[in-house]
Symmetry: C2
């Protein structure tokens, strides 16, 4: 299990590392902004001191713009993100993953050319892949729920992500399996199996789909057990597909963000144990002290 | 072109028929509730007097409940809807379509068993299909956008709808192609072609995807041209797939509902002409008086 830093969004990096570590969780997913606040070298030193694994860095991407200065700036930003990913993973404990999560970006303003935006996303990955490979970083393509297709991510299904990933070496391009984004997909189980068979699962993230959706649908990610997702079926599929990396809990939710970070982590550990079975052993059946696998 | 009655939701049936007819539009998609307000026989008489075609009746479905009184009530309700569809289509002008739009329904309260809900949806269609066939009615399975999968419709993609429809006779089970629900799908063009090749397109509905989403995401359906959908590409695909029926404009939008029905219809006719090309002739190039095809 890993706590994605976004789950305790208002905590700075030292606080996030402290509360995760203090809860007995052994891994953390980092975000670029709080890393930038302290600076990359200082962040790496803090991570090394924490003894935690790094399970991913969020996030790069947003590269659907047409050719021009905006697109060049985006590509350059992603190069920096690749470098940060390699640095932070190297600072983390053994078992850290040099995984950079990529969110595609939406349609350019005023455009309805979804196919063109998707082609430019693919082209950006092609441009960045050699640098990722040279840095030992895996670019993790994250399909986002189709409700974000217009304004956030033109990458909408696991199958679509795999169609792109399969064009590149397996060590440098993978996919994110995130329950919130893909639980509804009639093809989800076969696509998870496909992702596992080709070694493409770079990250497995969990959180629940809660209804009604909040006014800002970006904040709809809820605590496991509060919503409609069958974590047993999806986690079994990811496990059966051969994935053995950290399982990241990533929650965007105003009420959770407003709570004390340590209590959020404690609640997250408990919800994870109750709802996310790993292997044949439902974590709900093991003592909480053993949860941080 | 057809105006779906939901676009002028607050108009009663006589008013809706009047404003659609007065705008020179020759077809209307009806809803069960305003029909029930005047009674089925009176509604049929009004439709006959209007001279309009009926392009569909919205809607049946909501049959994901487990076996028991709730499920039986839902099946019975759908039988009544089949009868209403046949009656209203018979009252409409030549070219009317006896098409009943079906929305699957969401997960039962507290359930995370999406697969089970989907199986029960399929079983309900199997139960209703003989009655639809005997009545000359086509059950039109409408995949809804995946953001509704938990609480409104476990039928989420056109491919999934076709996988079910293909299990039944083509004259009694088809699918709805609705731009709002499927525009994001990476497989949309091939699935539209598949639907056309098997003669399964029972209805084509258009409206736009507008961002940001409103607080009630059921009211996110916007006027063509106000959002992110490429109507040219989708309409061309539907046309190339061989569909020659009415194109229904169905908009759920508080601002549009609050406007005067006649002005909404006029605005809809104009937006349709500007954004929805039929065949090789963009409607924007033909006089508005010829729009009501």
């Amino acid at each position: 299990m890993s706590i994605n830093q976004a789950t305790v969004k208002y905590a700075d990096l030292p606080t996030a590392l402290d509360v995760v570590s203090a809860a007995g969780v052994q891994s953390i997913g980092l975000w670029r902004e709080p890393v930038a606040e302290v600076g990359l070298q200082q962040a790496a030193a803090l991570v090394a001191d924490s003894g935690l694994r790094v399970s991913s860095l969020c996030r790069g991407g947003f590269f659907t713009a047409v050719e021009g200065p905006e697109r060049r700036a985006s590509i350059d930003e992603n190069r920096r993100a690749i470098h940060e990913t390699a640095t932070l993973a190297a600072a983390g404990a053994d078992g850290s993953a040099a995984v950079l999560v990529l969110v595609a970006g939406g349609l350019p303003a005023g455009s309805t050319d979804l196919r063109g935006a998707r082609e430019r996303m693919r082209d950006a990955i092609a441009e960045l892949e050699p640098e990722a490979r040279a840095s030992g970083v895996t670019l993790a393509l994250e399909p986002l729920h189709p409700m974000y297709a217009a304004d956030r991510a033109v990458l909408s299904t696991l199958g679509q992500a795999l169609d792109i990933a399969d064009q590149f070496p397996v060590e440098s391009v993978g996919v994110v399996v995130d329950t919130f984004h893909i639980w509804w997909d009639p093809q989800v189980l076969e696509q998870i199996a496909r992702a596992g068979a080709s070694g493409r699962i770079a990250s497995y993230q969990v959180c629940d789909w809660v209804t009604p959706l909040p006014q800002d649908v970006l904040l709809a990610r809820g605590m496991m057990g509060d919503g409609h997702i069958d974590f047993a079926a999806l986690t079994r599929a990811v496990n059966d597909a051969g994935y053995r990396g950290d399982v990241e809990v990533e929650i965007f939710n105003q009420a959770i963000w407003d709570a004390d970070p340590a209590s959020v982590v404690a609640r997250t550990v408990r919800a994870f144990a109750d709802h996310v079975p790993l292997g044949d052993v439902p974590l709900g059946d093991v003592p909480l002290g053993d949860v941080a696998l």
